[in-house]
């Protein structure tokens, strides 16, 4: 318990160092766009592949569970849309990003820590936490919600493709379901979730990387901790946000 509180305290101390005014705005924006490319744009292929396949699988599973002739087939589209927007495109994608982006951030910053590159920045009078971490947090919290929208659309496309290939329901039934009882608030809710999850992933991974010690093994261990803790915190945040926004 004492150890956990100490860890939490160190996390908040680091965040206080991170959320200060950047020394040079031009340097911040240069880093920001580099991190948008590294953390968001480079994640597009994996998000695209997973979204297409999961969208297709949700459609097959939903269709195979609707056997009653009294339930209209358009519910396949409706259920696929709701599953994707409410949970898959934010929570599941965030968990995948915790693995991909989280390990990338913690190992990158961890390697810089053990090779004294962070000490070198501090020695120059540069706020290393602000320089290294703030652009990453900003890039992912701002742009990952767009990644969530992209995932949502590709999930729906995946569903449409499986319908084209298998004819499990008709395309017009699927499209009718997609339009049925649409609430744009759910999109907003999902984007907010994704933004919060992105903050969780980048800040926790940066924290573990920034405090890495003990050589290459230490970097590996900090990377593992970053992924595990980020994943658990995503689930906790998911519960809290859902209760606040939908409860």
């Amino acid at each position: 318990m004492k150890k956990s509180l100490e860890l939490l305290g160190r996390y908040f101390i680091l965040m206080r160092k991170v959320f200060t005014k950047p020394d040079r705005r031009s340097i911040f924006f240069k880093q920001f766009f580099t991190d948008v490319e590294k953390l968001v744009i480079d994640s597009i292929p994996i998000v695209a592949i997973i979204s297409l396949f999961i969208g297709a699988v949700i459609v097959i599973q939903t269709a195979s569970n609707i056997e009653s002739p009294f339930i209209p087939k358009m519910y396949v589209g409706y259920m696929a849309r709701e599953s994707l927007v409410l949970e898959f495109c934010s929570t599941m994608i965030a968990l995948i990003l915790a693995g991909k982006v989280g390990s990338n951030i913690s190992s990158e910053i961890g390697s810089m820590r053990i090779s004294e590159q962070i000490d070198a920045m501090d020695m120059m009078g540069v706020n290393s936490a602000n320089y290294l971490i703030l652009p990453k947090i900003a890039a992912s919290t701002v742009f990952n919600p767009l990644l969530m929208l992209f995932s949502f659309m590709l999930g729906l496309v995946g569903g449409a493709m499986i319908i084209l290939f298998t004819g499990i329901v008709t395309m017009s039934q699927y499209v009718d379901g997609l339009h049925y009882a649409f609430r744009s608030y759910y999109i907003f809710y999902s984007m907010i979730k994704m933004s919060v999850f992105s903050f969780v992933i980048t800040s926790i991974s940066s924290f573990y990387g920034y405090n890495a010690s003990g050589g290459a093994l230490g970097v590996g261990s900090s990377s593992t901790k970053a992924i595990v803790v980020s994943s658990v915190m995503i689930l906790v945040a998911n519960l809290v946000i859902t209760q606040l926004m939908l409860g």
């Binding site: 020394d23 090779s115 004294e116 000490d119 070198a120 501090d122 020695m123 009078g125």
Partner: protein, 252 residues
């Protein structure tokens, strides 16, 4: 001038620096020597503020560095250059970007002025045509030189070198030592070198402090070290058989 007064540092229960007081003068290469684990790196990092001492003070000129807040420390650090044991070059940046890094943060120089300064620093450390190379494309000795070039980029008043010769062959080590000494005298810098290399001590040790188990147990110049009667220092300096035989011959 740098003055260290009664510096104490603990890691948990273990005291790694015990009541260390010492003064370092500009234009001189001051060396901290000692065996591995004696506390010399902790002393160096405490002086530059990378470790926070439990008690004692560090003075840069007439400013007490230990009592300064972060913005105050930041101002002093702009006057400090540091060469790290593993060079600590940013591996995401080219040689030119590494040396330009402090300039980007703390000067309003134009791109041309920065490039001119980068080239000047590289020339000063005898490196040519390496601007666009990344650190992993350089040899260990070249990385140290780039580290020195980055350390002097903003004309520092203080230069700290942590084990500048580690991992280098004897010939390259001497070249790096000579470079550090030349720069120290040329720009009247207060230079502090942390080493356990006796060749460095004999080459550039204007002032030598010997640290043993966290305590400063001896201080003098490179000329005094061979005739010192401190048993811990003698054990460190004359560690191998050849050195022991030399000492016996000297005594005869």
């Amino acid at each position: 001038m740098i003055k260290v007064e009664r510096l104490n540092k603990f890691f948990g229960e273990k005291q790694v620096l015990k009541d260390i007081s010492v003064e370092y003068q500009p234009g001189k290469c001051s060396l901290i020597i000692g065996a591995s684990g004696s506390g010399k790196t902790v002393l160096l990092k405490s002086i530059v503020g990378l470790h926070k001492p439990e008690s004692g003070s560090v003075w840069y000129g007439d400013i007490n560095f230990t009592t300064l807040d972060e913005p105050g420390k930041k101002e002093i650090r702009k006057e400090i250059g540091m060469l790290f044991q593993g060079s600590a070059l940013f591996d995401f940046a080219t040689v030119e970007e590494n040396i330009r890094f402090p300039m980007d943060f703390f000067t309003n120089w134009s791109s041309e002025e920065k490039l001119e300064r980068v080239n000047f620093c590289l020339k000063r450390v005898n490196l040519f045509n390496v601007n666009k190379l990344f650190p992993n494309e350089l040899s260990g000795g070249m990385q140290k030189r780039v580290g020195i070039a980055r350390a002097i980029a903003l004309n520092p008043k203080y230069l700290f070198c942590d084990e500048p010769n580690s991992g280098l062959d004897p010939h390259t080590s001497i070249l790096i030592d000579q470079l550090i000494q030349e720069i120290t005298q040329e720009y009247n810098i207060t230079t502090l070198v942390n080493t356990h290399d006796m060749n460095s001590v004999m080459e550039i040790g204007d002032q030598v402090s010997f640290i043993h188990k966290g305590e400063k147990v001896w201080e003098g110049s490179r000329n005094d070290i061979l005739t010192a009667d401190n048993p811990d220092l003698n054990e460190f300096v004359f560690a191998n058989n050849m050195a022991k035989r030399m000492k016996e011959l000297m005594q005869k």
